[in-house]
C-alpha cells in the first residue's frame, strides 16, 4: 500500500516568485507561438502540437524506453499498456484519415505521409541498435528531449550522442539505400485486407499484446499494480473541486494510460492536420547542421521514405520538425515548472555520461537507419497500417532485452 504524505513542502521560495516564474514560462510559450505564426501560421499549429506533446509526456512521465525495458527488468507492463492504448486509439483515427486520403485502394498508392517504410532486415538492425541505445541512455529520442525540459543533464548528453550517430547515417545512408533498402517491398495492409479487415487485425494484435503483458506481469508475483492514493480533498464547494482538478492536471502525475490515449489522440489530430508525429527527422537535421558548421557537409541523400526520411535539410531554420521537437522540450519545461518539479538533475557518476552518450550514438544510427525512432518508426507506424511498425517494434524489444543485460552490469 502506498500513501503520499501531503505535508507542506518546504516553501523556501515565496509564493509571489513562484507565480511570476510560472506566468513567465507560459508567456514564453505564447510569445514563441506568436512569433512563429508571423512567419507561417502552419508552423504555429505545429508549435502548439509540439508543446502539447511535451506537456503530456512530462505530466504522465511517459517513456517508450521504460515501456520495453521494464517488461524485462521489473516485469512491470504499466507503461507498455499505456502505449498499446495509444496505439489502439491512433489506429482507429489513422485508418479514418487514410481512408479520407486514399479511398481508392486499387490505385496502388500509399496515403500521403503515412508512416509506412520499406520492410527489411535494416529495420531489425536499426531497431536492435535503437533498443539497446535507449535502455543504456535511460530514454529514447522523445524521452531525452522532454527530459531536457525537466532539467536532466544526462539527456542533453544523450542527444549529443544522437547527433554523432546520425552523422554516421548521413554518410552511409546512400549506401544503404542503393545496396539494400531501395529494393525492398513496402507492405501496407488495406489493399490486401480492406479497411475493416486491417483495423480488425491490428486491434486484435494489440489486444493480444496486452494479454501477453498481463502474462509477463503475473510471472513476478503480486499482480496488482499499486496506485499511490492521491490526497483526497473532499471539497464540497466549486472552488475546492476546481482547485482539486487543477492540482490533478498540473501538479500530480497523470496515470500512464491517460498519457498514452492522449498521445494517440494527439497523433490523429496532427495527421489530420498534415502528418503523423515524427521526432528523429529533425534531430537528423540538427546533426546535418552541425556537420555543415564544422565543414563536413554530407553528400546529398537519395531515396526519402516515410515521414522521418533522412532527406536533405531544407535551408530554412524553422521547420515543422523544429516546432515539434522544440515544443516537446519547452512544453515539458513548462509542465515541470508549473508542477513545481523542475530541477537540474546532474548524474554524479562519470560512467552515466558515457552511457548516455554511447546510448545516444546507437539511437542516432539505429533510428536513422530505420528512418524512424520509437515515434516515427513505431508509435506512428503501427497505426499507419503497415507491417514495418510491428517489425521495428519487435526489434526494439530485442534491443531492450539486450540493453537490460548491459545496464545490470554497469550498476
Amino acid at each position: 500500500m502506498t500513501t503520499i504524505a501531503t505535508g507542506q513542502t518546504q516553501q523556501a521560495v515565496p509564493d509571489l516568485r513562484r507565480v511570476v516564474t510560472r506566468a513567465l514560462v507560459v508567456a514564453l510559450l505564447i510569445v514563441i507561438g506568436l512569433a512563429v505564426a508571423g512567419v507561417d501560421p502552419r508552423l504555429a499549429v505545429f508549435w502548439v502540437f509540439g508543446v502539447t506533446f511535451g506537456f503530456i509526456l512530462q505530466r504522465s512521465r511517459f517513456c517508450f524506453a521504460s515501456a520495453f525495458r521494464d517488461l524485462f527488468l521489473l516485469r512491470d507492463g504499466r507503461m507498455m499498456k499505456a502505449i498499446l492504448g495509444g496505439l489502439a486509439v491512433a489506429t482507429i483515427g489513422f485508418a479514418l484519415v487514410q481512408y479520407n486520403l486514399t479511398p481508392n485502394l486499387a490505385g496502388g498508392r500509399l496515403p500521403f505521409n503515412a508512416g509506412v517504410v520499406p520492410l527489411g532486415l535494416h529495420l531489425l538492425l536499426g531497431g536492435v541498435l535503437f533498443g539497446v541505445g535507449m535502455v543504456v541512455a535511460g530514454g529514447c529520442t522523445t524521452g531525452s528531449l522532454y527530459r531536457i525540459g525537466e532539467g536532466y543533464v544526462g539527456s542533453m548528453v544523450a542527444v549529443g550522442g544522437m547527433l554523432v550517430g546520425l552523422a554516421f547515417i548521413h554518410f552511409t545512408w546512400n549506401w544503404w539505400w542503393d545496396t539494400y533498402i531501395s529494393h525492398l517491398p513496402v507492405v501496407w495492409l488495406p489493399p490486401s485486407l480492406g479497411w475493416g479487415g486491417t483495423m480488425a487485425l491490428v486491434l486484435l494484435a494489440l489486444a493480444g499484446a496486452a494479454v501477453f503483458i498481463m502474462w509477463v506481469e503475473s510471472r513476478a508475483g503480486a499482480f496488482a499494480i499499486v496506485r499511490p492514493a492521491s490526497p483526497r480533498q473532499s471539497a464540497a464547494d466549486f472552488r475546492g473541486k476546481l482547485r482539486s482538478l487543477l492540482r490533478s492536471v498540473f501538479v500530480q502525475g497523470w496515470p500512464a494510460i491517460v498519457g498514452g490515449v492522449a498521445l494517440g489522440g494527439l497523433n490523429v489530430m496532427i495527421y489530420l492536420f498534415e502528418r503523423p508525429l515524427g521526432v528523429i527527422n529533425e534531430v537528423g537535421r540538427w546533426s546535418e547542421g552541425v556537420l555543415n558548421l564544422v565543414g563536413l557537409p554530407p553528400p546529398p541523400h537519395v531515396g526519402g521514405v516515410g515521414p522521418c526520411a533522412i532527406t536533405d535539410a531544407p535551408p530554412t531554420l524553422l521547420t515543422w520538425g523544429l516546432m515539434i521537437n522544440g515544443g516537446i522540450i519547452l512544453g515539458s519545461f513548462a509542465a515541470s515548472v508549473l508542477a513545481g518539479e523542475f530541477r537540474l538533475r546532474v548524474p554524479r557518476q562519470g560512467r552515466r555520461y558515457g552511457q548516455s552518450f554511447v546510448g545516444g550514438i546507437l539511437m542516432g544510427y539505429g533510428g536513422g537507419l530505420a528512418a524512424g525512432c520509437t515515434v516515427g518508426g513505431f508509435f506512428s507506424a503501427i497505426p499507419s497500417l503497415g507491417v514495418n511498425g510491428w517489425f521495428f517494434g519487435a526489434s526494439l524489444a530485442v534491443g531492450a532485452l539486450l540493453g537490460v543485460q548491459i545496464i545490470r552490469r554497469i550498476s
Binding site: T2, Q10, R61, C63, R345
Partner: protein
C-alpha cells in the same frame, strides 16, 4: 538505510531501491531520496511485490523521499 539516488538516470533509482529492499535485514527500513518522477510510480509497485509499503513525501521542488518499510516493522516516523 538511506539510499540517495538523486541525479541517477533511469532505471537506476528503481534498481537501487529494489536492491536495498532485498538487502535490508530484519525490520530495517529504506529511505530512498530521489529526484526522478517516474520512480514515484515504479518503486511503490516493486515494493508491493516484495511485500513492503511505500510512503512518498515531497521534500523540495522536484525531490522526494520514499519511505519503504515492511508491514511487520514499525511505520516510519514522519
Amino acid at each position: 538505510m538511506k539510499v540517495d539516488v538523486r541525479g541517477e538516470i533511469c532505471p537506476y533509482p528503481q534498481i537501487k531501491a529494489v536492491e536495498a529492499m532485498q538487502k535490508a535485514k530484519g525490520g530495517e527500513t529504506v529511505e530512498l531520496i530521489t529526484d526522478h518522477p517516474p520512480s514515484l510510480e515504479t518503486v511503490p509497485t516493486q515494493a508491493a511485490r516484495l511485500g513492503w509499503t511505500a510512503t512518498i513525501q515531497e521534500t523540495r521542488p522536484g525531490e522526494w523521499c520514499i519511505h519503504l518499510a515492511r508491514p511487520t516493522s514499525q511505520a516510519p516516523a514522519k
